[in-house]
Amino acid sequence: MAETKEKSLSDKKPKPRVRPIVRLGIFLISHSFHVSVVCCTAGVLALFLLPVLAKNTYISENALMPGSASPMLSNQHVSDGNRLVKDLTNPNSKSSETGIESHKIIAQYMLDLGAEVSFHKFHPQMNQFHPLHFFSSPDSGKIQENYSCSSYGINTVGIIRAPRGDGKEAIVLVTPYNALKSGFGEALSLGIAYSVFSLLTQVTWLAKDIIWLVADSQYGEYAAVAAWLREYQTPKFSSLSTPNAEMCPDVNNLFELKGHSISGSKFSNSFRRAGTMAAALVLKVRDQNEQFEDTISIYAEASNGQMPNLDLINVVNYLAVHRQGLRVNVEKLWSLLNSSWLKSLGEIFESLAKVAKSLYPKWKFGIPATEYVEGTATLASSLYYQALGVPTGPHGAFRDYQVDAITLEISPKFSLDKVWRNDILLRGGRLIEGVIRSVNNLLEKFHQSFFLYLLTSPSKFVSVGVYMIAFALLIAPLPMVAASLYVDANSSSNCSKGDSSTPSAITDTDEHSIAIRSWRWLNSAKLVFIVHLWGAIVSLLPYFISQIPDCSPTTSFMIWVLLSILSLLTLNSVLASPLACAKATQEKEWALVKSVTISSVFIGLGLMSVINFATAEIGALLMVPMCLLAQPLKLDVRAGTLRSFCRMICNLVLGHIAFPPAAFFLLKGMLDGFGNANVGDFWMWVESLWAWNSATYLFIGMVQLPCWVLCISILFHTC
């Protein structure tokens, strides 16, 4: 109101006309408080509205034509697959210590089909922290000197050449298999893959080569697939370690046996390749399950929140639901399913939709409350796994090479006796066959559908255009508040100056001081820069700590915290000493610091939203309120009103929550219960983050942690 009055006053005087865009800017800046409140609530609301706004998926690429051909997988192939399952689960095959026997069986089966077979021997590569390896493309791996004969895995690879194809492209089918302690599920997944494989050797429609990779999962599924892909895409020709490996007796033994198999020409111990990979499917069968239906779970998240093309998920979903009668699942946060507040929120939305529909019948945007709850749970898990940046299965290895891949996990409903086993083999096999046939139809690589999306159910998605709105609303107040704080800090000091001196007489010295004052933000910028530098150092520290041998996670974490604090103090004393004198003179110093902090957070969040949206969204939910509310506690205490008291409480709570380890423990406690929380867990979590080259780690170290430190320093600012 005061503003408008002032404006009406000033309008009477002939004043230079301000252009509308500038006037709008000034208006927004002057009302930054209201604007930011409105924007933030709208942002959070929009996030909760996403399940309502989700669209149904549709198959965008016409060439896929899923389900247009009737499945050719017959009982003959199923019984073939059954034979393999029996042979593998046969106790005789497990007599060997290294499980080579079962690999031989698989290879023999592949050879009998007329496929080309080769073994790929790999040494599990330990994930190591390379400080500068974020975002870099996967390299061919270092040569490690101390390979021992005992630790290697064997991938069995079978390749069908498309009879009339030109061999430029290939489809990969992966079945993880641990020969040492395989459950029945793994054997069954091999059975499904084998029955499909035996069909594909006979069909005439094949245009792309088929690669069946039986990944030796004794060192983890991901490691095996990643090792094979590394060899496939970036082989090392001058390997010094291979001669060592060849000396190992087991390996030679393995190759010997194959030598005198009947069709020796098809087997070779060299690495075999087919063309460019078009898509990859990872197939698993779960051993135990409590489901009431045959379900199939889709895992799609790869490293750093990358997703495969939506069309791949669509095809699987379409074929599973409409052709094979399987229920399709995507990962959910189960704890959210029972939350009552979410249910009530869903009911509110539902009733709102009803009201809207009664007003105008064409408005149909409501979804039932239960569906809303499920959608939110799925969305939350989708966000969570994308934000984590750690792939949810072996398919993640493919995404590093720009190959679209998903993991399908079949969980059958009944105990796996004969009849039901056949049924699962048939249906699972037909599903895989259908997907392969669809991908085989593709002339071009997957490019039609979305790559940036969040799933709210297997058949519903939120595309980038929609979910960005929530994020944009959330971070929109940041630049405005920063600008208004800056303007405030400058003008207030101006005013104080103006009071002391007569307004008419503006001397040179004053102009000089104004010039200095307008550059005063550089001091705060320096502080912010130092804290960010510290953040970079903190995120590098684990590399050195991990070099210390025999360290339990808890002690490592403690060392990390100690070193971080130490480095902060040193940096402060070395670099920030001139700040102290500047601080004394400026009373509005904290406002400038806050303004610079907010702008740096804005830049950080904006950058992160490009790299990994989910991380940025979750980070924004934590950091935006904290940044906006931060105000020295002393001021609040001095004011003593209810409003400032509330703000103080909020600040304290947020100051605790937004501290990354605290946020982690809170989240973990919410998901698993607080009972088994341990200080070392955070260290382990961080370790897993950097092992997967997750950008989330960088975000936490270089954006969130400095921001938290700055906000805390504002809170305890002496003014």
């Binding site: 002939p14 493309s137 009339r164 020709f237 390749r273 460019t276 002339l443």
Partner: protein
């Protein structure tokens, strides 16, 4: 001049790579055309363009795409009929179908109405694993004595078919595995009834591969049949291992094979003797399972892409020694400095920008200096949108080599928006590399009483590598609309503010306002 249309891949490992059949008839997928011009240098390119357009019209194929200078190259010496006047081009993506076969048949005197060509039943041909039609034109110059000046046209159709879900080849009738019995009528669904009236000779040859003959002899010895050389005897067509339904007119045995022990056996059937009433139908019925290996080229060539992403990558050509090559080596391995010469000819399109300095050679998994291995190299770098890059190499490898790898790095270029093909998102093809072994000659000389000699010409053993698919960066093709909107907005804002700033004088305005006030 030679033109070939091919569908499918020749499987060098199981169909052999040393005989004259794979060496001269195995071709890369799609269209391959080369021609030697007897014309002055400056006219050759124009003549090539004429030729491509003519052939394109004749064969209903898009050979005219070879006309642009980005599509063909001029190898200096690595391609077998080496001369500076050679032009070579391939279209790996050309789909081959009956519309290409029909014009090819029209060149035959009786088309597919009589003679052997009656067998060419389209569905059965195109159901096979591999088929390649080849047209070879040589002009006999007027200078050569005893020959009328003219043009010799040689037409070859190579088909690999599968009888009852197993594979066999018409050309050399090799079979696999459980060996299904076959006959011409079961494979093609047709029989030959009489020869084409215009044809001078019309014969069906049936070749027993060297390896197969050796294997059969082995079986015979095990059976203690005591008939020493059943193979040559007239009764051979009805022996314990297999049975032929027709009696061959003549049997040839390969004369000078490198492996002195074994020799291929060739059966000749003259079609003239058969007529409408008694159609010719050759059949083979196996009695015992036999497994044999076809003769392999000394090194098995394989080519693949390395790296990922849209920025750069590398091409690797790997040469692996095949088991059978040890036999070849054996003959000269007494020599200390035994060397195996390998020619590599590789054409890369201009948008795959190869860095020739990054050529690396690994022999038996050890990095080698390029100069040690490469005897001769000829490189013509690509020019953007003008000419493809050509690399010709002569490698000398030690005979004991078990594997050799050549790698060369490249950057992926950007194309102009209208240079993208309609299916740009599939990726772009790098044509097959040609790996040839000039020290080895694929030929078979058959001992004969008469003068006729089969495959008298000496052609080096050649093999083609796979076609590679390079995914390039493709623009979003719906983008132009978005780009237009965005650029227009940016331009409007820019010019608006610029004009505003130019037109307005702030100081003057203020003064004006003050005066008013």
């Amino acid at each position: 001049m030679e033109l070939s249309f091919t569908q499918g891949r020749w499987n060098y490992e199981s169909w052999g790579g040393f005989d004259p059949i794979p060496s001269s008839n195995a071709k890369p997928p799609g269209v391959e055309l080369w021609a030697v011009f007897d014309a002055p240098q400056h006219l050759i390119d124009a003549l090539w363009k004429n030729l491509t357009h003519t052939l394109s019209g004749l064969f209903c194929a898009s050979i005219n795409f070879l006309e642009s200078s980005t599509a063909y190259s001029a190898p200096e010496w690595s391609f077998p009929p080496a001369s500076g006047k050679l032009r070579y081009g391939t279209l790996p993506r050309e789909a081959v179908c009956t519309e290409n076969l029909t014009p090819w048949l029209k060149l035959l005197p009786c088309r597919d109405k009589a003679g052997i060509s009656m067998l060419l039943d389209r569905p059965s041909i195109y159901r096979g694993f591999y088929h390649s039609q080849r047209l070879h034109l040589t002009s006999t110059g007027s200078g050569s004595e005893g020959m009328d000046p003219g043009i010799i046209l040689e037409q070859t159709l190579t088909v690999v078919l599968q009888p009852d879900s197993q594979r066999a080849s018409l050309a050399h009738a090799s079979e696999k595995h459980i060996q299904p019995s076959w006959s011409l009528s079961s494979i093609f669904g047709k029989q030959i009834s009489g020869r084409c009236v215009l044809a001078e000779t019309s014969n069906v040859y049936f070749l027993l591969d060297m390896g197969l003959v050796a294997e059969l002899e082995h079986i015979h010895k095990e059976n203690e049949k005591s008939e020493e050389y059943v193979l040559i005897s007239e009764k051979f067509w009805n022996n314990p291992s297999f049975e032929l339904s027709a009696k061959p007119d003549r049997i040839f045995i390969e004369e000078s094979s490198l492996l002195s022990k074994n020799a291929s056996v060739l059966y000749k059937f003259e079609i003239e003797k058969y007529g409408e009433s008694e159609p010719f139908d050759l059949g083979l019925f196996w009695k015992t399972p036999v497994v044999w290996l076809c003769q392999q080229a000394p090194l098995h060539a394989n080519r693949f892409l390395m790296g990922s992403g849209n920025e750069r990558g590398a091409i690797a050509i790997s040469l692996k020694s095949t088991q059978s090559s040890e036999g070849f080596m054996g003959s000269n391995s007494n020599d200390e400095r035994c060397e195996l010469r390998v020619d590599v000819f590789q054409v890369v399109p201009w948008y795959v920008k190869v860095y020739f300095h990054s050529l690396q050679v690994f022999v038996d998994q050890q990095p080698k200096a390029v100069s040690d291995i490469i005897e001769k190299i000829h490189v013509s770098p690509s020019k953007d949108k003008v000419s493809p890059g050509v690399m010709e190499l002569v490698l000398t490898l030690p005979c004991s080599v078990s594997s050799a790898v050549l790698t060369i790095e490249f950057d992926k270029g950007f194309l102009h928006i209208d240079e993208y093909p309609p299916d740009a998102n599939q990726g772009f093809d790098i044509p097959s590399a040609i790996v040839s072994f000039p020290d080895f000659h694929a030929r078979m000389v058959f001992l004969e009483n008469d003068s006729l000699n089969k495959s008298p010409e000496k052609s080096p053993v050649m093999s083609y590598t796979e076609v590679l698919l390079v995914p390039l960066t493709t623009p979003d093709f719906s983008m132009p609309y978005n780009v237009i909107t965005i650029t227009c907005t940016v331009f409007a804002l820019y010019f608006g503010s610029l004009l505003n700033a130019l037109r307005r004088r702030v100081a003057e305005e203020e003064r004006f306002l003050k005066d008013k006030g």
